[in-house]
């Protein structure tokens, strides 16, 4: 079983998988430890002290701080610090209580009873109660609320408040991702009741129960959080968390070197070459671990060109993924074989990636009727040239370079590709969500829970939902539902292996690569422990020795 927090991440669109780092920071599931770590020679041991600030650099700004609407990674980093779910993962990837102290599963998995912590307060001092859980659930299933996470909660028959500290969740039918889904951050009823979630002030001024309290947000510039002294586990040692928006990774790296920021996700070039200096090694620790996500090129399946599965397969033959990994990731990643990453239990080892074979690609395209009839060097069919535009977001050199390599390789087989690079929020709001694209390059951050109903089920194609490619395959629909109803791990494995296989054969995306997470953190921070769920799960235990603190408040 998986933590909801991670699961929910599973559907977050990653701004920059390579700069995922910070996502990694906040409970994004990551497997195994960093091979590269330069421990601080001084003071690894000692008593933790309070104080200092952690300044992190990121490419994009948050869009909303309403937890159930936050579907992009920048928003979720902040949401995960300010809010808590009922449960979370521990470092051995097991579910443990968070806002819930414990839970019982009754009546053949149809009922989950959560026993909530009693000493939890919202940041405004109001006590946290069971009615907040029920309220959050009601928002999630409200048809007027455009949340991408509603899918998991539609299976709930009712949420009953037994007393202030006991919530009973009753499912309509057995639902395997059910427990995990309660990693969803809980929202305060007393502040949001009757508010329109789309217009409320709360989106820019959130009150949660989490480790850090929201302080201020300067749009496009920075978000400041301060530590929650009353946090139920313990007061975080680092007093401030500052999220700085720096929309360019080269600039961000300069900021890191001049200590304008303390941490950032590194590009492969920065990781392999620019950080291999004595200057850098003396001041920073570097971490590298396989990420739980992948980068892909998605086709708009409403577009006639891409409706034929054979065409999509041909395109997959025509692009050399190895070339992208060597050239763009400088080897810091793996080929993506489909929806699940190699570290996931749902990963099907028998699915082999297509070899790079442009001749075969050309042959398949010819069978589909794409031929160069007018001898202009480009394939055509019914008088129309095979031409399309790849959209991707600005600030991510890896995606731009990937697009250029795809453009080049497809040119070799006679397909004209244009590239358009757009600002992140314009890209998401105006093009991806409104399905105004032919192809896009984007990434998913995945969770441990392999359920990908929201991404591939044919019912999830409304604006703002995650099946923006309009993928519809009755077999996948059936398997996705079956996977959610099955609790037996072996049987589930079979189902997801099958899903993996069908999806790879269908090629709704051109699956490109699974990047490694590459992170740099200033070495004054102590207590960082790499685990299968990343490095920031224990952010409240990080600390800085008094004599090395840089900021005082």
């Amino acid at each position: 079983m998986q933590n909801r927090k991670n699961r929910q991440k599973s559907k977050r669109i990653f701004l920059i998988p390579l700069f995922i780092t910070i996502a990694v920071f906040f409970s994004l599931t990551i497997s195994l430890p960093g091979q590269e770590n330069f421990p601080d020679p001084e003071g690894k041991t000692g008593t933790p002290t309070y104080g200092d600030a952690f300044v992190v650099g990121e490419i994009g700004d948050a869009r909303t701080l309403i937890p159930i609407l936050a579907s992009d990674s920048p928003s979720s980093y902040i949401v995960d610090l300010v809010f808590d779910g009922l449960i979370k993962y521990n470092t051995s990837v097991e579910l443990v209580g968070n806002l819930a102290e414990s839970w019982d599963i009754e009546e053949d998995s149809l009922v989950i009873v959560f026993h909530l912590r009693k000493n939890v307060k919202w940041h405004d001092g109001y006590p946290f109660r069971a009615k907040d859980v029920k309220f959050t659930y009601e928002c999630l299933i409200d048809p007027k609320v455009p949340t991408p996470y509603s899918g998991d909660f539609k299976m709930v028959k009712s949420v009953e408040v037994a007393d202030d500290y006991t919530v009973k969740i009753i499912y309509k039918e057995p639902f395997a991702p059910g427990l995990t889904s309660w990693g969803m951050p809980i929202m305060p009823k007393h502040l949001l009741e009757g508010e329109n979630l789309l217009t409320t002030e709360f989106a820019r001024n959130p009150i949660g129960t989490g480790r850090y309290k929201f302080k201020r947000w300067k749009t496009g510039e920075r978000i400041d959080l301060v530590s929650n002294h009353e946090y139920f586990e313990h007061r975080p040692y680092i007093d401030r968390y500052i999220y700085r928006v720096i929309p360019d990774s080269a600039t961000m790296f300069l900021e890191l070197e001049t200590l304008g920021i303390d941490s950032m996700g590194l590009t492969p070039l920065q990781f392999t070459r620019l950080t291999e200096t004595p200057f850098f090694k003396k001041r920073f620790q570097k971490f590298k671990y396989p990420s739980f996500g992948y980068t892909y090129m998605a086709y708009n399946l409403k577009d006639d060109k891409f409706k034929d599965k054979r065409v999509r397969q041909a395109l997959n033959y025509a692009v050399d993924k190895k070339e992208i990994i060597d050239g763009v990731l400088l080897g810091q990643g793996k080929v993506s074989h489909g929806q699940f990453v190699p570290e996931s239990w749902a990963f099907n080892k028998d699915v082999k990636p297509y070899p790079f074979d442009p001749k075969k690609a050309k042959k398949i395209l010819e069978e589909c009727g794409w031929r160069d009839r007018d001898n202009d060097g480009w394939l055509d069919k019914d008088g129309r040239r095979f031409e399309f535009t790849i959209l991707t977001n600005q600030g991510n050199d890896n995606r731009r370079m990937t697009a250029e390599i795809i453009q080049r390789r497809l040119k070799d087989i006679g397909i004209k590709v244009n590239i358009r690079i757009l600002e992140w929020s314009v890209f998401l709001n105006e093009f991806v969500n409104k399905k105004k694209f032919e192809a896009i390059i984007l990434g998913w951050g995945l969770g441990r829970e392999p359920d990908c109903y929201d991404i591939f089920h044919s019912s999830k194609t409304k604006e703002g939902e995650f099946n923006f490619i309009s993928y519809a395959n009755p077999r996948i629909d059936r398997l996705l539902i079956e996977g959610r109803r099955t609790f037996d791990l072996e049987k589930r494995k079979e189902i997801y292996n099958k899903i993996h296989e069908i999806l790879y054969d269908d090629q709704p995306y051109m699956f490109l690569y699974v990047p490694d997470s590459l992170v740099a953190v200033h070495n004054r921070f102590q207590g960082i422990k790499v685990s299968p769920i990343g490095i920031t799960y224990n952010f409240i235990d990080w600390w800085v020795p008094r004599d090395r603190q840089r900021y005082t408040y």
Partner: protein
């Protein structure tokens, strides 16, 4: 006049470089050894060598070839955008200057309004709406750059139209069109040409800035601006990717500015020679 230009060393130097650039642009396929869009990951980020005189970029493309092809785009955008601006500016300016009165007020107030917009941001906004490509960039730079020229030609025509030969021509029954195109524009075009040359330099810079922001020339077409943008990402590892396009922009813009200044001096009767 030509003699005066030739006497001006700066102008000759500028013109020489521009001529050289034009030749390079015209014969780009002959000069460049490689296809500018040819990707070879194995040879990514190689420093300058005999094989690759200016090194390679992060996708292993030959920088020299890309720079050569980029010169085509720079000159094309410079001349066509400013050609457009010149056309619009001369038409509006001469109409305003010749007819005066209401026509003048309407046209010149429109020009004033256009001048009120911060030009670069106007261009950014329009590009964001219509989508970036070479054609759009040229048209937008052209359509936002005519106001200065219109003002210049209007001022010239205001003084020229009171001359005796214009009155004579009118007395002989010449049409407005004839007077404007045969008498006024040819005599008043001098300062506008100077402005045109400066304008080309400005347009090249604007294109580079737009491409640097990812809103100009789109990949795989090379432009000095977008090579510069790529260079920024590899700064510290591949200095050549950022230095050479930067130099190219500098030299080109300098050349146009030198030529422009030479022209201005040559055309200005008040300057001591």
């Amino acid at each position: 006049m030509m003699k005066q230009i030739f006497r001006n060393n700066q102008a000759v130097f500028g013109a020489g470089i521009i001529l050289l650039l034009i030749l390079v642009a015209v014969f780009a396929p002959k000069i460049a050894k490689y296809d500018p869009a040819f990707i070879n990951i194995q040879s990514a980020l190689l420093g300058p060598s005999l094989e690759h005189p200016l090194g390679t970029d992060s996708l292993g493309r030959d920088l020299f070839s890309r720079m050569i092809y980029a010169s085509r785009i720079a000159l094309l955008i410079g001349f066509i955008a400013m050609g457009l601006a010149l056309g619009v500016g001369v038409i509006f300016g001469s109409l305003a200057g010749y007819f005066g009165g209401k026509t003048d007020s309407i046209i010149m107030r429109f020009a004033d309004i256009m001048l009120c917009f911060p030009r670069f941001f106007l261009i950014l906004a329009v590009i964001a709406v219509v989508g970036p490509n070479i054609f759009n960039v040229m048209v937008i730079i052209g359509l936002t750059g005519w106001m200065g020229m219109a003002r210049l030609i209007r001022a010239e025509i205001l003084s020229l139209k009171t001359r005796d030969y214009v009155s004579a021509s009118r007395a002989l029954g010449a049409s407005h069109f004839f007077i404007i195109t045969k008498h006024l524009i040819p005599n008043g075009i001098g300062p506008v040409l100077v402005s045109f040359v400066f304008g080309v330099a400005g347009a090249i810079l604007t294109e580079a800035a737009l491409s640097f922001l990812g809103l100009g020339v789109q990949p795989p077409n090379p432009s000095w601006g977008n090579i510069l943008m790529e260079g920024k990402a590899v700064l510290g590892v591949g200095w050549w990717v950022i230095i050479f396009p930067g130099l190219a922009i500098l030299i080109t813009v300098l050349a146009f500015n030198l030529l422009g200044e030479g022209l201005r001096d040559a055309l200005n009767p008040r300057v001591e020679r």
